[in-house]
């Protein structure tokens, strides 16, 4: 039954009339093969199958046996047995006569894949099953071409749309749906899981109702555009544009799409003429063909003289942009598609029947929800628009499946905090569609609205200041998509530009500037307040298992500043909540170190704070320019720690803190990069080492095992002297955990060798010697040739330490070196 609720007619025939929804599903006389399809009666489905199986066991009558197997395969093609019965049935089918066994099993698998049908088998299926023939159906396109597809009982609209799209080389598939027509009825099958055979079965039943034989039911399947996306661009896919163009042309002719102004009609016909005949207007051709072009409803019966229209069309033709600029015909088609999208949004909608059960009262409870590229409309059966919501109005959409019912709950929440609740068989489909459009709009949006006042504490002019409800236009090519994974955005508000924290704003699902009345809604209290943790990746139970520094912090961290409890915070666990928790992620710089033991040393305290600031910058939690060279920020983070063991602990605490309850996936990933780099540099003190190992092993990130291995190696070999070399930083940023370094030999050959963070020159020498099968490594050494100089790497020096030191030194002594190193001039001074 569900299949018939998205009803909509297309202007296919002269008997067009404007009833948008109808039912094929008026009282249907019980078919001989009427199959119980209530969800509660799964039991009776098994019962039916059992009965058939029983009659097929030791059945002496040949004809009865054959008919029994046809019946069984028909049933299997419509519904699957319960899990309990599945294996028995499969075994029974397999042991069946060779003519039916593989055939039935194939159908069983298909039904299992695509789900239970809602209608009894069609006559078409019955015939096909009797002869075990494939079913071929014809799909008609709007340009009158056809395509034959092979289907079976389980075929869905999605499968067929997919096949057609591949055949037609259609790329922009969104919004193309399968339609079925019969007499004056039209029904959309959508492009999802609806079964095609259900629709055909309904058509046959409807034909029978009208006193026709089901075998002659003149149903027809079409493939047409049902809905546009707001960001639809006809230039993107010429195949899609061609199909839509023909749909519009046909709709114009039969009056499905009507223009308000005669001038528009003339322009559209002129455009068609241009597509068909090119830039040369031949009055003769127009005169003979005008009958084909004119909308039927504009021509009176027996009217032969269309001179007035011919004049108008010729006039419009000369004004066409395509004609004047000699654009290719495809551009004319694109123009037509754009015109249709903008002029008849409601005609390109998906329609759903729904029953309102909650929220602000609409004039009637039974509504039709129409969704198109401009928004969401509630319509009554007289086609009166009861309520119109733009996508900007919608805050949340969700659905709830109601067990043992065909009606499910749909909840639409607006930015004004109104909550519309509906019962609808396709709650999930509506929800998915709206969500898809909202997401697509937000990704492309350059408009955000403040949901909280914001002013940077330092009043620095590089930060934006704004009030709740202010509109901010993103700048520098930033879009909503980029903003979703960032902690800082950049945009314009009240004529000034600057950085702002993304958690203070809401991305508006709009491609054009949203109207002011939307913004008013955001100014009100209680509407979209400070963001609740959205979509936590891990649930609470999983989070509890994650080891944190909470206990370690109680003992070793300085006491956090007292923070005033805000109104919104929950007053449970009051004692803890009132203190700043120093072991949890933050995007604020610190002004004191985390470790108590560092507090007394002013210099180390300073180093600790600046390394934390560098961590915030590296992870994108603080606005910062792109690193001048890949290891700029990592140098700031690790340099001081390499010289002092207490700072080593502090840096580990800082990284662990930023990986604790960090809700921003991009920031968290970068945090893991820092953890990976740190573990290859040095280990913390023994007590923190235990914490670090627990911290790592309680997490599932792919870096955990590599980090533990690196810790082990660092422990064995000892700490590095320099922060990670640029190659190490770049490698882990590209998720590469193996670095191969090219080594040259005097005989003009070279080879690549793996070098990791803890590889010393002597380790590499040994690896090379054994690869080259040298007798021993005595007297061999690694040299770095840079600019005009050659340096030997001391045997016990870490390979990357040496390179880092060298590059630093080059940078300091020869500021111009970066640009000059390319010169091959050798100077001996």
């Amino acid at each position: 039954v569900a299949a018939s609720s998205q009803n909509y007619q297309l202007g296919e025939a002269p008997f067009y009339h404007r009833t948008r929804h109808f039912a094929f599903r008026t009282a249907v006389p019980p078919s001989p093969l009427q199959i119980p399809n209530n969800f509660e009666v799964i039991f009776s489905r098994d019962e039916i199958l059992c009965q058939i199986c029983k009659q097929l066991t030791n059945n002496p009558t040949k004809a009865s046996h054959a008919r029994g197997w046809i019946l069984l395969s028909l049933c299997i093609g419509c519904f699957a047995p319960s899990d309990r019965f599945l294996n028995y049935l499969r075994a029974f089918v397999r042991a069946g006569p060779p003519g039916y066994a593989p055939y039935c099993e194939g159908r069983l698998n298909r039904t299992f894949k695509n789900g239970t049908r809602t209608q009894p088998p069609s006559w078409l299926e019955l015939m096909a099953t009797r002869n075990k023939n494939p079913i071929n159906i014809e799909i008609t396109f709007m340009d009158n071409t056809t395509h034959v597809v092979e289907v079976d009982s389980a075929s869905t609209a999605e499968e067929i749309c997919k096949e057609i799209s591949t055949k037609k080389n259609l790329k922009d598939v969104f919004g193309f749906s399968l339609y079925i027509t019969l007499f004056d009825k039209v029904m959309s099958l959508g492009s999802d899981a609806d079964h095609v055979m259900d629709a055909i079965s309904q058509c046959e039943q409807y034909a029978k109702e009208k006193g026709q034989s089901e075998r002659n039911a003149p149903w027809k399947l079409f493939f047409r555009k049902e809905i546009f996306t707001p960001w639809h661009n006809p230039a993107e896919d010429p195949v899609a544009t061609g199909l839509i163009y023909h749909q519009v042309v046909r709709g114009l002719k039969f009056g499905e799409y009507r223009c308000n102004a005669e001038g528009d009609v003339a322009s559209l016909i002129a455009t068609q003429y241009y597509v068909d005949n090119g830039a040369q207007m031949n009055p003769e051709v127009l005169h003979t063909r005008i009958g084909e072009y004119m909308p039927i409803y504009l021509v009176k019966k027996g009217q032969n003289n269309l001179d007035g229209w011919e004049r108008k069309i010729k006039d419009a033709f000369s004004k066409l942009l395509c004609v004047r600029n000699k654009l290719p015909p495809i551009k004319a088609q694109e123009f037509m598609v754009k015109y249709a999208k903008n002029t008849w949004p409601i005609m390109f909608s998906k329609f759903y029947e729904a029953l309102q059960i909650g929220g602000p009262q609409l004039p009637t409870k039974n509504v039709i929800i129409a969704i198109n590229w401009t928004g969401i409309y509630m319509i009554d059966d007289q086609e009166q628009i009861l309520l119109e919501l733009s996508f900007c109005d919608v805050n949340l959409v969700s659905f709830e499946r109601i067990a043992n019912s065909q009606m499910h709950k749909l909840v639409l929440t607006t930015v004004r905090n109104e909550e519309f609740i509906f019962h609808c068989p396709e709650a999930e489909g509506i929800c998915t569609l709206i969500q898809y459009l909202l997401d697509g709009l937000k990704k492309r949006s350059v408009y955000v609205v403040a949901i909280q006042d914001y002013k940077h504490p330092t009043n620095a002019p590089s930060f934006l200041a704004f009030k709740k409800g202010d509109l901010i236009a993103l700048k520098n090519g930033l879009t909503g998509e980029a903003l979703m994974s960032a902690t800082w955005g950049y945009g314009e508000c009240h004529g000034s530009v600057g950085d702002f924290p993304t958690e203070h704003v809401y991305i508006l699902p709009a491609i054009t500037e949203p109207p002011a009345d939307i913004l008013v809604a955001f100014k009100k209290d209680g509407v979209l307040g400070p963001k609740q943790p959205t979509a936590p990746v891990l649930n609470t139970m999983q989070r509890l298992k994650l080891y944190t520094l909470a206990h370690y912090a109680a003992e070793h961290f300085r006491t956090g500043k007292k923070i005033a409890t805000t109104k919104t915070s929950v007053l449970t666990a009051a004692r803890r909540a009132s203190r700043e928790e120093l072991w949890k992620y933050t995007n604020e710089p610190i002004y004191q170190p985390h470790l108590q033991k560092l507090m007394t040393n002013e210099e180390l305290s300073k180093e600790a704070c600046s390394s934390f600031t560098a961590i915030l910058k590296y992870m994108g939690d603080l606005p910062a320019p792109k690193a001048k060279y890949s290891n700029e920020y990592t140098d700031q983070i690790f340099s001081a720690a390499l010289k002092d063991d207490m700072l080593k602990d502090e840096v580990y605490c800082q990284i662990m803190r930023q990986l604790t309850f960090n809700r921003l996936s991009l920031s968290e990933e970068r945090g893991w990069e820092l953890m990976y780099l740190a573990t290859g540099l040095f280990i913390p003190s023994a007590s923190l080492m235990t914490e670090l190992q627990k911290f790592l092993t309680s997490r599932t990130h792919p870096f955990v095992q590599p980090c533990l291995k690196r810790l082990q190696k660092s422990q064995k070999i000892g700490p590095r002297k320099y922060p990670p070399y640029s190659v190490e930083v770049e490698a882990i940023q590209h998720r590469s955990m193996e670095i191969y370094h090219k080594i040259y030999f005097p005989d003009d050959t070279d080879e690549a060798f793996e070098v990791d963070s803890v590889t010393r020159a002597c380790d590499l020498c040994r690896t090379i010697s054994s690869r080259l099968e040298l007798e021993n490594t005595d007297g061999f050494s690694l040299f770095v040739m840079i600019s005009d100089k050659v340096f030997s790497i001391p045997a016990d020096s870490f390979f990357y330490d040496f390179l880092h030191e060298l590059i630093d030194w080059m940078r300091q002594t020869k500021p111009s070196w970066n640009s000059a190193y390319k010169s091959t001039r050798r100077c001996v001074n």
């Binding site: 040259y744 030999f745 040298l774 007297g779 061999f780 690694l782 770095v784 600019s787 050798r826």
Partner: protein, 210 residues
């Protein structure tokens, strides 16, 4: 005192015709200390490292070498380059500079060098590249300056020495060489028990001993 370090490494790269440096740096693996470098003991080390590192030093003229030896070695170098592909010998011998020590280039005319090298080459018959490289090393190995790292040093304190002298350090000790005559003054390690804190100190110490 100013030290101009003529490292064998960099010279070698240039001789080998390394491509213009595109990366910021290149990492080489090479012999640094020639303590156990006895030709013939480690075939791969001879073929990949010893020959290719010793040849440029030889061609720069850091060793004391007779004209006769130079002719013989030039023929061996040709063999090492050509690996018994005798058809290329006429072309290869054109670059006399790549075959004989720089300080001997003027000892004879270019055509004389070519003539004597070619006759030496023909006399020696078939020698593979590997054999040639080893033969070269075995001859050089007999010289006191084998396996040295050379430094061109400008000295300012000792009037009896020329301004620029050549210092070669190898397992024998420190060889102080006259840049032209290569008259060798070897200071053996352990003999005087000196320490090399800095070049200046080392220089003074050496002065006091001579």
């Amino acid at each position: 005192v100013r030290i101009n370090r003529h490292d064998d490494v960099s010279t070698n790269v240039v001789v080998a015709g390394a491509a213009p440096i595109q990366a910021q740096y290149q990492v080489f693996f090479m012999k640094k200390l020639w303590i156990n470098a006895v030709p013939g003991r480690d075939t791969n080390a001879d073929q990949i490292f010893h020959f290719h590192q010793e040849l440029p030093k030889y061609l720069r003229g850091f060793h004391k070498c007779t004209k006769q030896d130079a002719t013989k070695l030039a023929a061996i170098i040709l063999h090492a380059r050509l690996d018994n592909d005798h058809s290329q010998v006429q072309a290869a011998v054109q670059h006399v500079k790549d075959l004989i020590p720089a300080d001997l280039a003027k000892a004879a005319s270019s055509s004389e060098w070519k003539k004597s090298i070619l006759s030496e080459y023909k006399k020696s018959g078939n020698i593979t590249m590997e054999q040639a490289k080893l033969r070269f090393l075995k001859i050089i190995y007999e010289w006191p300056t084998f396996g040295s790292t050379f430094f061109e040093v400008k000295q300012t304190t000792e009037p009896t020495y020329p301004d620029i002298i050549l210092i070669g350090i190898n397992k024998q000790g420190v060889n102080i060489l006259h840049p032209q005559t290569k008259v060798c003054n070897t200071l053996r390690f352990g003999s005087g028990g000196f320490k090399c804190f800095s070049f200046r100190m080392f220089w003074q110490r050496m002065n006091s001993q001579s």
